[in-house]
């Protein structure tokens, strides 16, 4: 185990940064990162988040419940994350305490696209738990970051 919380966070960001750069060099970072998150989430949802056993049907409430359960299990500090939305889209503001901020800042400073792990994770959570197809988008990287999840137009009505 890393000796400090900061060490654990640096290790996390080191791996994520490396994975994104490697997937970019192979040509499809969106596919690679979505697959990583989906596989991790399927395992993680069933084992590490007992507080998230029954996801609410409403996507905004499901995102809130997922963030709360992640917070309660010690994975993230969800206090600086605010959601609003309806059945068709969910918007969120994510503050300074995001564990991925260090990696995103490096990407931003390098002039590369910032890949929001939190937005993708919420979209996958909605897909896994509600079978609802939402497209994640980072609208703004900053303090706070602004993300939107919009119901996909791909699915049949």
């Amino acid at each position: 185990m890393p000796a400090t919380e900061d060490g654990a966070n640096r290790l996390l960001n080191f791996f994520l940064y490396g994975m994104i750069r490697a997937s970019e060099s192979l040509g499809n970072p969106a596919l690679f990162m979505r697959s990583v998150i989906e596989a991790g989430l399927r395992r993680f949802l069933f084992t590490n988040l007992p507080g998230f056993a029954g996801a609410p049907e409403d996507p905004t409430k499901a995102c809130e419940a997922f963030t709360k359960a992640s917070d309660e299990s010690g994975l993230i500090d969800g206090r600086d994350t605010v959601f609003r939305g309806d059945g068709e889209s969910v918007s969120a503001e994510i503050g300074d305490h995001c564990p991925y901020r260090r990696m995103c800042t490096v990407r931003h400073d390098e002039g590369r696209p910032v890949f929001c792990v939190r937005a993708s994770m919420l979209a996958e959570m909605l897909r896994v738990r509600l079978e609802a197809d939402f497209d994640p988008k980072l609208n703004r990287f900053g303090r706070p970051c602004q993300i939107t999840l919009t119901r996909s137009r791909w699915k049949g009505s």
Binding site: L26, G27, N28, A30, L31, S35, D133, R153, W154, S157
Partner: protein
């Protein structure tokens, strides 16, 4: 108005009637299935992810080797060929064809279907 998914499904259905095409699918570039005519026993999720990976890597290879625009990827094997190509900025089209297929005719049908999918998505984006 008919929704995007139904219109894409109609396109795929039409394509699957082309002689020499065993089955086909439209997938998203991030590896999710949109619709398909793959046979039972084939996992469409895996096919979608593999198609996205094949096209993504092929596109990157053409860029790195300075070969211009990527057109299509063809994977040849003992019992057939797998053809993958872009269908606009968001989607890919993949088809499994017989090993002795008339590739010229199949490619014409595939390119027509890919353009149709692209148009459907553009219409939906503008609507």
């Amino acid at each position: 108005m008919t929704d995007v998914w139904t219109r894409i499904e109609e396109t795929i259905d039409e394509l699957s009637h082309v002689t020499d095409i065993k089955s086909c699918a439209v997938v998203r570039r991030d590896g999710l299935v949109v619709t398909h005519t793959l046979p039972d026993g084939v996992d469409p999720k895996i096919v979608a992810a593999m198609t996205a990976a094949i096209v993504g890597t092929s596109e990157m290879a053409t860029i790195q080797l300075a070969q211009g625009r990527f057109v299509r990827a063809i994977v040849e094997s003992d019992h057939g060929k797998l053809l993958s190509l872009g269908a606009g900025e968001e989607a890919l089209l993949v088809a499994l064809v017989y090993d002795d297929a008339n590739l010229g005719l199949v490619l014409m049908a595939l390119e027509r279907a890919a353009k149709q999918v692209e148009r459907i998505l553009q219409d939906a984006g503008n609507g």
